[in-house]
């Protein structure tokens, strides 16, 4: 497929650049993480925790490493003179965006699924050889795993935007911004709650709400929850993808 803004050959070549220029760092990182996980699997194999090992550590690897990886996705944009060669590379803004997006979302998810599965085999063999104990294998098709992946896929879009927007320490700045945003929302709810229930004292024993009002509020609460879920699942990621694309488009050196 080839259009003015999207040529799959160019997209493939951009992905190739990412792999050629970063594979040493990525292999080193993957090796270090595997080493730490193997150590932890050996350390915990005698405890009952080992049966929940993957429930804890797969999400940790996916979120922790994934967010760090995503936060550095557009590092060349903020590094002089690296940004010169990146921005003058003959590829469209859409292709440059898609390369980073695909590598930090689908690409990273696939690699962690395969990598983590391989690690679990290694861990099982090693724990059996060293301690004669069995260690569970990681099941990539478990529904819980896919729930975690879904949440990562959505939330990493915020970090992708952070990497294009912030010139330095994007991971920390995104976390801080998210914290401040959550604080703002919490305060907003607190304020709403205060306004609605202002006539009731915290220590008043005969706290009662009119049944009709309660049903009305309950349905309002359910509606807010449904809308919030819909926003999170279907709107949050596309919103940040669009913002990332636009920011990339208007970046100057």
């Amino acid at each position: 497929m080839k259009t003015k803004h999207l040529d799959f050959l160019r997209l493939f070549n951009l992905i190739k650049i990412e792999i050629i220029t970063n594979y040493r760092t990525l292999l080193l990182g993957a090796g270090a993480i595997t080493g730490v996980l193997l150590f932890l699997s050996l350390a915990t194999v005698r405890s009952s925790f080992s049966w929940n090992f993957h429930d804890t550590f797969y999400p940790f690897v996916l979120f922790f490493v994934g967010y760090i990886f995503t936060s550095t996705a557009f590092k060349e944009l903020h590094q002089y003179p690296r940004n010169y060669s990146y921005l003058t590379l003959p590829a469209s803004i859409l292709e440059k965006f898609l390369t980073k997006f695909l590598l930090t979302s689908a690409g990273f998810i696939i690699i962690t699924l395969i990598g983590y599965f391989v690690f679990s085999i290694l861990a099982a063999v090693l724990t059996n050889l060293v301690f004669g104990r069995s260690f569970p294998l990681f099941d990539p098709f478990n529904s819980d795993v896919w729930t975690v992946i879904k949440v990562y896929f959505i939330t990493q879009s915020i970090f992708l935007f952070g990497s294009v927007y912030f010139k330095s320490h994007s991971l920390l700045k995104v976390l801080l911004s998210s914290f401040l945003f959550s604080l703002f929302i919490s305060l907003l709810f607190l304020l709403t709650f205060k306004i609605v229930f202002h006539s009731y004292s915290m220590y008043e024993l005969n706290f009662s709400v009119d049944r009709y009002e309660f049903y009305q509020m309950e349905s309002l609460g359910r509606a807010i929850a449904t809308v919030s879920k819909a926003i999170f699942h279907y709107m949050l990621a596309p919103y940040f993808w669009v913002l990332t694309f636009l920011r990339l488009k208007e970046t100057e050196v």
Binding site: K4, K16, R24, P81, Y84, L87, I93, E250, V253
Partner: protein, 285 residues
């Protein structure tokens, strides 16, 4: 090929740099972009390759606004900045990764350039010296066969033999459909290489001329006392006398000292405008 019309640009902290700047760069020659520090030479190159966006006016490359950074235009521009980035990979890996973006990349020529520049192939790019990296990038840029080659201070960091190799290689790379625009302070390194000169001062193009025209209209003389010479435009004290820039009335065959010419334009541009009155492209509103 490169058309700039009514361009205005400035940096937030430094204020306006260009105001209503216009420039038309034709192919088939090596153009030298000269100017004092902070005149905006590098900024102009950045605007041409879409790294900076005009505030108003337009900068078109092959008829397309450069700020759009469309792949077709970018595929025809190769910019070698004064400071550049090369990844920690071998030359072979670099070619494998970056050459596919340039449809007419010529690997045979690239290898020839590398041989000329004596670039080692087995080492990583980051292990090379600054001069070797620059020559590698120049070899790559020439091998891309891009129609626009933008070079910012290309001879900085090159040793004496490399400067000579650079001049020869660049001169051989000129084709009828190629623009080579060189921004430099090192005018002596560029002597006998430039086909046209563009001088930028205070955000304006104050002089744009072909070398042939300059040579036919100006001449440089050495004199012990410049007051005895007619039609003096500008003079400077040199070892053993004065270098004097005069109007060339007798169609003398002369060599132009670019440094002297530059200083003359900066200090006595009105007189030069008179001389070049029929041809000078001084875009002053």
């Amino acid at each position: 090929m490169i058309e700039i019309k009514g361009l205005s640009f400035g940096y937030r902290k430094k204020g306006k740099l260009f105001q209503n700047l216009s420039l038309d760069i034709k192919p088939g020659r090596i153009s030298g972009l000269l100017g004092k520090n902070g005149a905006g030479k590098t900024t102009l190159l950045k605007i041409i390759c879409g790294l900076l966006f005009p505030h108003s006016g337009e900068c078109k490359v092959f008829g397309v606004d450069s700020y759009r950074r469309c792949p077709e235009s970018l595929g025809e521009i190769f910019f070698i900045p004064e400071e550049f980035y090369l990844p920690s990979i071998t030359p072979k890996e670099y070619i494998n990764a970056f050459a596919p973006f340039y449809g007419r990349f010529d690997i045979v020529k690239f290898n020839e350039y590398l041989k000329t520049f004596e670039i080692p192939l087995g080492v990583r790019l980051t292990s090379m010296s600054y001069g070797q990296k620059k020559k590698f990038l120049l070899a790559f840029g020439l091998a891309t066969a891009c129609k626009i080659l933008l070079l910012d201070e290309p001879t900085n960091g090159l040793d004496i033999p490399s400067k000579s190799q650079f001049r020869k290689t660049l001169a051989s790379a000129v084709t009828d459909d190629r623009v080579i625009l060189v921004s430099t302070h090192q005018v002596r390194d560029m002597e006998n290489l430039l086909d046209s000169i563009i001088i930028l001062d205070n955000g304006e193009i104050i002089f744009q001329q072909e070398m042939d025209s300059i040579l036919s209209k100006l001449s440089v003389k050495l004199a012990s006392d410049p007051s005895y010479i007619e039609d003096v435009i500008y003079f400077e004290k040199t070892l053993g006398g004065y270098a004097v820039l005069t109007e060339n009335r007798g169609e003398e065959d002369t060599k132009i000292d670019l440094e002297l010419l530059f200083n003359a334009i900066i200090n006595n541009k009105e007189r030069l405008y008179e001389i070049f009155s029929k041809e000078v492209l001084a875009h002053e509103n």
